[in-house]
Every structure is written in structure tokens, then in C-alpha cells.
Amino acid sequence: MTQAETQKRASVPDATTALASPTIAFAMLGSGGSGVMTAAEILLRAAARAGYFGLMTKSFGPQIRGGEAAAFVTLSTQPVETQADQVDLLFAIDWKNAGRFAGELQLSTDTLVISGEAGAELPDIATAPRPRLEEINLKALTRSHKGTRPNMVALGAVAGAIGLPRDAIADLVQERLSKKGEAAMAQGLTAVDLGFDEAANFALAQLAPAPEDTPRWIISGNQAAGYGAIRGGVRFAAAYPITPATEILEWLAPRLQKIGGLLVQAEDELASINMIIGGSFGGAAVLTATSGPGLALMSESIGLAVAAEIPLLVIDVMRGGPSTGIPTKSEQSDLNIAVYGLHGDAPHVVTAPNSISDCLFTAQWSTHLAESMQVPAIMLSDQSFGQALGIVEKPAELAFATRRAVAEAPGQDYQRYALTATGVSPMALPGTPGGQYTADGLEHSETGTPSSGVADHNRQLEKRLRKVVDFEYGDHWAQIEGDGTAAIVTWGSATGPVRQAMRRVDPEGRRLRLISLRLISPAQPARLARALAGCSQILVVEQSQMAQFFGYLKAQFELPPMADLYARPGPQPFRAAEIAAKLEEWLS
């Protein structure tokens, strides 16, 4: 149950005047072309302007386009990291194939269901939990007001029902329709007003006043990842489109162009990974983004970058697996391939953001790590970050003292793979006189000459491992919150639901501790031991059938034998209620 619901239950089940709630969740449904996404996005944006936090996720039927669609939106005075357990309001523009969202749409008896189709037969999902049912005859309304569109009326109704300021909505509608001329703008406003008027008939808790502290951003995880990479210095990218990573590329392409960089669409993932290796060899900070199938194809050449010591940022936006799996849904099941998927002993870096806005930080940090250690870094984002739109605090501007170690004036005795104290060897960039060497994926001596000798293999293996193990990662390795004696160890997109569940189960923050790893590999056993100091209980939470994260922790850390596990696959996203129930059970 969301906090909103808790409050409503307690105070206003039958009230006809609306009370304030810090969090409100709604869904909008409709079939192809009904415009639910536009309406929901305008609502989200209006909420952001008003200072709320929020999260919008989208769901579509199997049709490539024009099929049924659902938008889920949670708005709050507090940061929102996962959709509310249940929606307070469901607006269906129509009910065609609405049954398909059964698994995703949770109603309760308190939910207000508004049917936009007069006299429609409602599907089970809308009636089974016995919610409050209301109707707005969109067809009749839009017919009687020339040029108005059903989704705009719905938008007005939802805004009115949950108490979003009419002005913010009106501004946005005008901005959107400004290109279409005065008449369209006026019709849009009329539609919104019709909705607001209809909403006056329904009682629903209204959003509590928004905090007015920091400016808000609306951003998706994929945009944040792309921007983080640019902030990290990435200027050259090559990639092949794949769901759900494509938006990173589509966001980056024009923006790289603008700042003198370049994104190339390659013929396949084998080409894209090798193009960026070439670019990085030449001196550019580089990136590719893909999902599981593409990462698998890239693994041979990521190994090349390990052996030849080439910095790369590879973003994997995870989706349901294995194989082609479920491209449009989320899962945390590429951890193993990211950590262990290269042949031979191939030390590299694996990171993971823990929220939509952390995609920005982690991408920037990962670029810093890759460049500093001359190593490929794989960042594991996922569909639930990548394709969701969040209203977040404007992220801080951060600069890392990144600089690739470059041999500025290599002398006669220049050795590309010299054994240095840190394991990082200055790289001569093509164009630098005297620095000529051949980068090689064959085992090599310090100069880069192929060698199958025992000593060279041992030394170069050791150097490549040492440089990533001994690096000073600082505090960014994990997000640690609370200091209770029951620790939840998690990562990535499981973090938000866990955090929200912790707030419910332990509102005072006395019993629980959150440890969310941002640096997955190389493992930081000493740091984790310190973070776990004083814990008497450990629960690992992750979204993978085979408990990949748990297995990884067991392999790489001295995980106490009492460690418990809550793991399940996607595509069902984690909700706070689910985790909270698990926590209650675990703590008792």
C-alpha cells in the first residue's frame, strides 16, 4: 500500500471533499492511437514544474505500433523510485485489450476507475477488486466540442482529480500545440477544461503541496546514461540499435555531433565494439551501448580491449533473458556475462547505477574508471531505468580528475606495456613521435611483442589484474544508508524498491541498513566487510532467477553463512509492497 493509500484508508474513504496525500499513483489505458502516452507525459511534466517528484513507465501490447498502451505514473512530494503498489486512479480512454495489463495493473477497493467509454463492458482487471467506478463519456464530450480530443479531456480529468495545478497544464498544452496554431491551442484548452469540470464530480485525495526546494529534471535512465558519458568525456561512439538501449544512442547522436564528436551506426555489434576500440586507441574516450544479445557478440573483442589495455565504456541496458527473451521488460540477469563472460583471465570493471539519475553519475564515473585504468568498463543499466521517465532532483555537477596516462614524449626505451607500480602504463597516442608500438591481443612482452613465454604471461596477467584491484575507488563503490544490524545487500534497479520498502518497515531507520553496490567488479571484500560490520542478518535482493548476484557475492566475498536471499526473475518489476512483505517475514 502506498503512503497515499494508508492515509486515505485512515481518513477519507467516504469523504466527498478531497484531502491531501503525499503520493498519488495513476494509470491511463487506451488502444492504438488513443494518445495515452502524450497525456500522461504532459501530466508528468506539469507535476515536475509544480515541484513534485515522479516516475512514469510505459507498457505496450505485442503490436509493433498502434496496439494497446498503458502509462503508469506515480507522483509524490518525495523522490519516487518505483511505481506505487496500487494505483489510486485508473483512467481508460477505452478498454480494448486492457486485459493484457493484468499482471502490471494493481487496483484496490479504494481505486477510482474512470471509464472514458460510455456504457462499456469493463474487463475483470477493472472490476474484480471492486473499485469505485465512474464514467466520463469522452465520445459525447468531444463530439459536442469541435476539435477537442479524448486524451486531452482525460488529461484534464486526471489533473483535476489529483489536484495538479490547472495553470501548469494549460501552459504545457499551449506549448505542445503552439505549432498547430491558435485554434488548436484553444481547442486543447477547452478539452482540458472539460476534463477538469468532469473531475469536480469525483472525490479523490489530492496531492499534498509540493516542496519548493531544488529544481527538477525530467529524464530517462537512457538519457541520463548518455549525458553522463558525455560529461565523462566520451566523444566517439559506435553502436547498433537494440531495445532497450537504442534511446541512449538516439539521444547521443545529435548531441555528440553538436560538440564535435560522432556516433556511427555500425553494421553489427562486432563492428561497433571494434570501431570504439579503434577510436580509443587513437585517443578518444569512447562508448557503445547495447543489451544482452549485443553484449554477448561483443565479448570476444571486449577481451581484446582487456589484453591490449584499451579504455572503453560499454553500457548494457538489461532486458529479460535468455536469448532474445523479453526485449521490452527488465531483469538483472546479465550480471554473470558482464563479470564472467570474457574468455581467459580478463580483469575489467563492471558498474551499475542504482537509480535513474544515478545512471548519469555512474556513466560519468565509469568513463573515469575506464580511462584511468585503461580498461573496458561495462555499466549494467536496465530497461526499468532506461525507458522510464523520472522527475528527479537536478543532478550535481561533478568532475573527476580523469586523465588517461599518456606518454607525451616517449623515449627510445618506451615500452607500451611497461610494468609500473600501479599497473597502468602510459599509452603513446598515434601521431606521437617515438611512441610507435603495436597494440596486441596476443600475450606480449612489455614492448608489445607477442610472447608465449611463461614470465611474460605471468607478469602481464599480474599487471592487468593489479591495476584494477589496487585502484582507489573511493566511496562510490556502494551506496550505504542506515546503520541497523539487518543489512540488505542489493544492486541496480532493485535498490529503489528496497529503499522504499525499508522506509515502510523501518520508518525510523533503526533496524535496517542498505548496501547497494555501484562497483560490481572488481570485488571490494574489505570495504564490504566494513560496511557489514555489526550486522547480524544479511539479505540479498535481486531480480534474477538463478540468483546471479548472490552467487557472485559468495564467490568474491566472505559472505557470512547466514546470508539470506530474495531472488526472482523479471519481467514483473519489484514493488515496495513485495519487498516490504519479504522484509517483515525475514525480520520476524
Binding site: 560522432l262 562486432l270 571494434n274 579503434g278 577510436g279 578518444a284 597516442l429 598515434p430 617515438g434 596486441d440
Partner: protein
Amino acid sequence: MTAETARRLTARDYKSALKPVWCPGCGDFSILSAITMAMAEIARPPEEVAVISGIGCSSRVPAYTNCYGFHGVHGRALPLATGLKLSRPDLLVIAAGGDGDGYSIGGNHFLHACRRNVDLTYIVMDNQVYGMTKGQPSPTTPPEWDSAMVPGGTGLRPFHPLVIALAAGANFVARAFSGDPSGTAQILVDAIRHPGFSLIEILSPCVTFRPEEREWAKQVHPAAVEETGDRAQAARRVLTDDGFNTGILYCGDRAPYQPAFAASGMEPAGGGAAGNADFDMEFRP
């Protein structure tokens, strides 16, 4: 004496001190010489040249030059070279390798490199066999050539690199023979100078696994006709020639693909920095 004349470059300046692993008599030795001769004629300082390869006997060539080199993984020389050239247009970038590397596992990149037409020079040392893995048929191997892996021969019509290159859009297509290093060097000079993607297919006998290829020396002959800028004519010509016609066979005028890239040049990457006000703006609600 000007700085320029102070550094008059000879073929030797482009050769490294490393001893090649090639078998005595391998055609690749002469190709290495031809490459260094061509470099000396082009006269870009060695540090401004990058030689990029995949895996195979022939793909060992980068380390035998005194240029920057990348000996990557099997079949991926062209995307490596493409990424380098697109982000470092100031460099002279040469890709080199074998018939297996380029036409078998690397076939897709070959197609798309021809089509993309980045200003690269691609040298294929074609010995019609996989040398490095000890004698399996490559796409250019004659159909009847018997081997352990394909007993009785593949029975397949050999892959015709020149025709494919023309069909796919390469901007310069030539055939050379390792036994004629100075002729090969001259073709290389023209290929390097020609903008866009240039393919130089060089017949290079594998004396170990295809000893009969020593006969090639007797079979090659210079193309009887002048180079052409007519793609269809060039294709017809190479389709009907005997496979031993050497020389520049096609010279096109497609503009090379080189989107602007101003970001790195010689600047080392990764100066992790503050945001960009324009980009920040987009995220305002």
C-alpha cells in the same frame, strides 16, 4: 637545410627490428617490403601512420613496420581501422590481413567498409588458404583443393573479392603480386593517395600449405588495359580476366565518408567535466 629535408625517409625507416615469424619464402615478406617502399614514397612520418590487422600469418604485419600498429582479433581489422580513422582523420590508416581474415570471418565488415568508403587502404595478402591454422580452404581457395578439414575440396566457386568490392562500392580496386614488390609499392602509393576506401588484393604464395602457388610467378601479368572509372566496366573486366591481371583496375570518385570530428585529435581523452548548459536545459520540465 630545412626541417623537411632533414628527415628524408627511406623504406628502412618504416621497418621495425622484429624478425617476422613467416616461413622462409613466404610471399608476405615482399609485401612488407612493398609497404615500406610505398611509405617512403608517401613520406608521412612513421608515427602518423597506423597499420591495423586481424589474425593470421599476414596479419602479423603491423609489428614489422615502424608505424603505430594494432594486431586485433580475427576478422575485425576494418572496423578497428574505421573507428581510428573517423576519430583521427589526421592519421594515415592502413588495414592489412589475409583472405580468411578479410573475406571469411571479416566478410561483413568488408562489405560495409566498401560501402562506407572511409579513407582507408586495405591490403589483403591473398594466399588462398588459412596459413596460420595450417591449411584449411579460405573463400578464395579453388574448389578442388583437398585438405583434411574439407576432404575432396569445397566444391564451391571461389569468392571474387574484386567483384564484390566493386559491387559494394569500394573507390579504388587493384590487384598485385608479392613477387613484384616495386610494382606493388607503386600501386600502394596510388591506393593510399586515392581518397576513400581502396582495396589492394595481393597474390601472396603460401609456400608451406600451397607450394603450388610458387607457379603464380609465371602466371601474373600486368593488366592489358588502362584503369577505369566505370564501375560496371571494371566489374565486367575482372569477372572475365584470368585472375592474374595485376594493376589498378578501378578508380572511382565517390566522396569519402568522414563526418566532422573535432573532439580529440591528439588530446588524451576523458577530461571528465561539468555539464553542458544546452543539454541541461532539455531536462528542465
